[in-house]
Amino acid sequence: MRAAFVGALQRLMDEDERVVLLTADLGFHVLEPLCESHPRRVINVGVAEQNMAGVAAGLAHSGRIPFIYSIATFASLRGYEFIRNGALVHGLPVRVVGIGGGFEYGAAGISHYALEDLGVMRIQPGMTVVAPADGAQAAAALRATRDVPGPVYFRIGKNDGSSLPDLGGRFRIGHVEVLRRGGDAALLVTGAIATEAADACLQLEALGVSCGLAMVACLAPVPREDIASFLGSVPVAMTVETHYIDGGLGSLTAEVIAEEGLRCRLIRAGVNSVPDRYSGSQRYMEHRFRVDAASLVKRILDAR
């Protein structure tokens, strides 16, 4: 996903002189093509995410469209108050790019796991929050948010291999993309873990369970009507995210279910404790927190 997003960003920089990319000293072997094609507009600010977010506010205040780039947890949390008091309060078009949501940094450990980025971003009024499934959708999301006047947060997957062909790179602000409908259960998923959710749906189908799947790549503005309509009369829904179960897609869906008076039961698949004091690959961690396809299948079967 990262390569596709960076490629789309390069095209955006080609087209729009206002776009500036700031990185907090991350993006080695990733951002070099942009540095070469736009040396004046790609700036390494050093390991200083707070200042990066503040500088971005100043740039945007003076007519630029700055992208600030780091690993998702650093991009979202370290400079959070600067993003809040800068881009958000002033309604400025700063783009926060967080690379590698959830457990994508594998054995790098808790310091590198973004598990609350979507939550902290979506609670801020005026922040558009985007967590695409794959490269094609990430590129589409970049294009679709080009003219958003306020700030945008992107959770961009680090891995380039996986994709969700059925999605066809669709993305719309304030909407979900429904990949399949089912009468027995429904999955709502955000971010790069979408491929596991899609796999789970196929496995459930083979087991005779009709399971819907909606990709929630835009968490804010809240795709309220789409979620309500998708859940319709489904008896059980499960949200899937590599994020703490509080604050992210699970909470968002619970809010919609409660406020819209829907009758479906909700299971929130996600991270329910601090993954600390043990190490493991992305795959291991996703299994441990039961957001891999096999675990998702089991949880739906158990819930019926």
């Binding site: 507009r41 050093g46 200083a48 977010a53 971005a56 205040h61 007519g63 630029r64």
Partner: protein
């Protein structure tokens, strides 16, 4: 007219009317604001290429409002909204009115915002200058130094920080809380052109601020040695005037002491 007595009168009037504090902090930078608005940015505060002024020590907003008012940049009606319910002028500055570029109040953020403005000027080959007024205690914030190192690295020569070195912060003397030592040397160490100046000497302040016109690559740090509460004798160096508001007697005494101090 924007003078050192008048700016203090406006600060005291509004602080008393609103029964708000932060008076000592505003008085501390009063002379800096007079020189900045009267002698340096006057006539350059309108349009896209305007000079930018960022009050990073947002709690001294009364000095900013008073300077804008006395230089004709802010109406009397707006000034009277200070701390009124629904008013646009709060204890800390909020964007959305002419003369306030950024909402501030959380210390240590203004220099980053300002560095972005200065970087935008550099990228766009624009001529505007960006001025930031920081407190000394903001030098406790790590992000201040992130911004300082960045601005020097990027050769933001049209960026100026004025550090209000009154040696007091909310709960004590800076020497007792986090000693800052030789601030000029600190800013020099991260690549800035830094000068020490008496922060109540108008001629010295103007000379220092005009160093921005030299057109060099280094950003400029003016270390303004100031007195907290300056100009109102009974408030000078008195910690309580960081937060306290004035009684009727305090106000009368403060007004009567204007222009009579040393």
């Amino acid at each position: 007219m924007l003078t050192s007595v008048e700016i203090r009168r406006v600060i005291l009037d509004r602080a008393y009317a609103a029964q708000e504090g932060h008076i000592g902090s505003a008085l501390s930078i009063a002379d800096i604001m007079v020189v900045l608005y009267r002698d340096v940015v006057a006539g350059r505060l309108r349009g896209k290429a305007r000079d930018r002024v960022v009050l990073s020590k947002g709690h001294a907003a009364l000095a900013l409002y008073a300077a804008l008012y006395l230089s004709g940049e802010l109406s009397e009606g707006l000034l009277l909204e200070y701390c009124e319910d629904g008013g646009r002028l709060g204890i800390h500055p909020q964007h959305g009115i002419h003369g306030v570029e950024f909402t501030t109040g959380s210390l240590g953020q203004g220099l980053s915002f300002a560095s972005g403005c200065a970087l935008a000027a550099q990228l766009g080959e624009e001529q505007w200058r960006t001025f930031v007024i920081c407190s000394d205690a903001e030098c406790d914030e790590g992000a201040t130094w992130e911004a300082a190192m960045f601005a020097a690295q990027r050769h933001l020569g049209r960026l100026v920080v004025v550090v209000d070195y009154n040696r007091q912060q909310a709960m004590g003397n800076t020497d007792d809380v986090i000693a800052l030592g030789d601030l000029r040397a600190r800013w020099e160490a991260v690549g800035w052109l830094a000068v020490d100046v008496d922060g109540h000497d108008a001629a010295a302040l103007e000379s220092a601020l005009r160093l921005v016109e030299r057109d060099g690559p280094q950003p400029l740090a003016v270390i303004a040695h100031t007195t907290f509460g300056k100009g109102v004798a009974f408030m000078e160096r008195q910690l309580r005037w960081h937060y306290s508001s004035m009684s009727k007697e305090d106000y009368a005494l403060a007004i009567s002491s204007l222009g009579t101090g040393p």
